[in-house]
C-alpha cells in the first residue's frame, strides 16, 4: 500500500498475538506466539504531527499518555527513524491482561508498528520492525527484549541469538506440538518478576543452562518431546519466580504426571504453560490442572494452542475520505 498523495485518511486494523517466552532454559532468548489471544490495534493517519492513543478497550488499565504507552512510544521511534512528521491515532483493544507473562506489552508494540508501517507503505520489513517494537519493551521493562516482540511480529518459535547485531533465528515447531497455557488472574509486574533474578550466576549453573538450550533446540528440530521437556529445565528464573505464583509447583507435578512433556513459567509469570504432543493431551492437561487449581480460589483463563505461525497480521484496511 503506497501513501496516497491527496489528503484522504487511511486506516488499518491489525492483530498481534500473545506470546509465551523463555520456554524454560531459553531465558530471554526464546518465545512463540499462541493462537486466540492478543491485541488488536486500529491505526488512522491524523492531521497532527503526533501519535495519540484515542481509545483503549478490553484490559484498559494502561497509560494513554503517548510518551508512556508502549504502542505509541514504539511508533514514535519508528517515525523518528524515518524522519517522518506524520501523526497517527491508535485504538487499542487488549485481550491479554498486562503483567500476565504472555507478552501483553509486546502485543501492543508489535501491532502498533506493523499497523503504522502498513499505512506508510511498508518502509520496513517485519524483521526490521522488531527493532522498534523492542523500544516499546524498553519503556516498560528497562531492557530492549525481543523474546516477545520478535515472535509476536514474525510468528513461529523464535530464537533471539544476538542483540548486537540483532539476529533472529526461526526454529521449526514440531508438527504435533500443542501448548496449554494457564493464566491465573493475578498480576506480577514485569519489573518485579525481573528483580528476583540474580545478576550473576555460577558458571556451573550457566553451563547446565546452555546444555539445556542446546538440547531444547535439538529437541525441536527432531520432534523429540522427551528431549524438549527435559531441556526446558531452567535454573535462572523458574526457581525464584515460581514462589510468586500460588500453587505453581503442585500444578507442574500434576501436569507432568498427566502427560505434559514440559512445563514452566511464561516470561515473568504468573502464566505458565505445558508442552504437549497432541491437542488431546493439551486438553487433558488443562482438565487436571484446572481441577487442581480450583482449590486456590483464584480465577484463571486457559488457552489450548499450537504455535502461531503468522505473527502479526493485517485484519482490515480502511479508506476514509477527508
Amino acid at each position: 500500500m503506497k501513501q496516497s498523495k491527496n489528503q484522504t485518511y487511511q486506516g488499518v486494523q491489525v492483530f498481534a498475538p500473545a506470546t509465551v517466552s523463555n520456554m524454560g532454559s531459553g531465558f530471554d532468548i526464546i518465545g512463540f506466539p499462541i493462537e486466540g489471544a492478543g491485541d488488536t490495534i486500529t491505526a488512522y493517519r491524523n492531521t497532527t504531527p503526533d501519535v495519540r492513543i484515542v481509545q483503549v478497550t478490553g484490559y484498559s488499565d494502561i497509560p494513554t499518555d503517548p510518551g508512556k504507552n508502549v504502542a505509541s512510544h514504539a511508533v514514535r521511534k519508528m517515525l523518528e527513524s524515518l524522519d517522518s512528521h506524520q501523526g497517527f491515532d491508535l485504538e487499542i483493544h487488549k485481550s491479554v491482561m498486562p503483567g500476565s507473562g504472555l507478552g501483553s506489552s509486546a502485543s501492543s508494540s508489535a501491532a502498533a508498528v506493523v499497523a503504522v508501517n502498513e499505512l506508510l507503505g511498508r518502509p520496513y520489513t517485519k524483521r526490521e520492525l522488531v527493532n522498534f517494537a523492542m523500544e516499546g519493551e524498553a519503556l516498560v521493562s528497562g531492557g530492549k527484549h525481543a523474546d516477545n516482540v520478535a515472535p509476536a511480529i514474525l510468528g513461529g518459535i523464535v530464537l533471539v541469538r544476538s542483540y548486537n547485531p540483532l539476529d533472529i533465528v526461526n526454529i521449526p515447531p514440531p508438527e504435533s506440538m500443542w501448548t496449554m497455557v494457564f493464566h491465573p488472574q493475578i498480576e506480577i509486574r514485569t519489573d518485579l518478576g525481573r528483580s528476583v533474578i540474580m545478576d550473576r550466576i555460577a558458571l556451573k549453573d550457566a553451563v547446565k543452562q546452555w546444555g539445556n538450550v542446546g538440547g531444547l533446540i535439538a529437541g525441536l528440530y527432531t520432534s523429540n518431546y522427551d528431549l524438549i521437556g527435559d531441556s526446558m529445565e531452567d535454573l535462572v528464573a523458574e526457581p525464584y519466580r515460581a514462589e510468586l505464583i500460588p500453587g505453581y509447583q503442585e500444578m507442574k507435578k500434576v501436569a507432568l504426571s498427566n502427560g505434559a512433556k514440559g512445563f514452566t513459567i511464561s516470561g515473568s509469570g504468573p502464566a505458565f504453560f505445558a508442552i504437549c504432543d497432541s491437542r488431546e493431551m493439551a486438553e487433558q492437561v488443562k482438565e487436571v490442572v484446572s481441577r487442581e487449581y480450583e482449590k486456590h480460589q483464584i480465577d484463571f483463563l486457559t488457552y489450548i494452542s499450537r504455535v502461531d505461525r503468522s505473527g502479526t497480521v493485517v485484519l482490515e484496511r480502511f479508506h476514509v475520505e477527508g
Copy 2:
C-alpha cells in the same frame, strides 16, 4: 565376543580419536572427534587381579602408575562397577601430545574402556562406557567432563545436555563441514587452562552465551555456516585462554578473512581450529595460517578433517594361547 571359559589370553587393539571440544559457545558441553589423530591401546587379559600399564609409546611422558594413569584408572572404575577381579595389561600409543586441547587424556580413557569392554564380552554399551571414561577425565582435571570422552567414544558432534542424569545428544554435522585444526607445539596444562576461567559470570553474558549455543545447534541442523560461525562466539573461555596462546588473535583474523566460517580454541588450548564449508577451504585456511604462524618460530601440527563419525573402533582382536 564372549569371555572364553578355558584360560586363553585374549587381546584387542582399539583406536580412539582426538577431539575438538567446546566449539566456542558450547563451553564444556560440545565436542567432536577428528580423523587422523588419537590414541591406540592394545589390551591383554593378564593373570593378576590388577590393571597395569606395560608400555607407552609416542607421546610417552605420562604416568605409568596405574593409579595415576587415566586409562588404567578408567578401566579400574569399570571393573569395580562389574565387581570383576580380572586384570589387564595396557599398551598405549599416544599420537596426540598431552595438554594440547585435543582431548589427549580422553583418547586414552576412551580407548581403554572400549578395549577392556570388548575383552569382557561387551557388558556395556558405548554410551554407558562414557561414564567410566569420565572417571579418567576426573583424575586429571578434577571434574567429570564428557565433552571429549563422549565424542571420542561415540563419534559425531556430541552435545552433553546434562550430567545428572548423563544425557548425550548426537547433533548431525553438515555434510560439507570440514575443520582445520592447528596445534602449536606448546603445552597448556588443562588445570591452568581452567584456572583462568571465572567461576561466576554476569547473567547478561550467560544469556548471550546460551543464545549462541542455541544458534550453533540450529546452524548445525540447517547447515547454515554463517549462523554456525557467528554462534561460535564464546564469552567465557576464549577471551582468557587466548592470551596463553602466542599469535592467537592474529591467526583468527587471518583465518576468518580467508574463508573460515568460524574459529576458536579447542578445549583449554593451545590447539585452535577453523570451521570451513569444504575441504578446499580448510586447506586454504591451513596455508594462510601456517604461513602467518611461522613468524612465531613455534613448531606446529595441522589436521584437515571432517567430523569423525565412528568414534572409538576396534582395530584387531588377538587370541593368545595360555
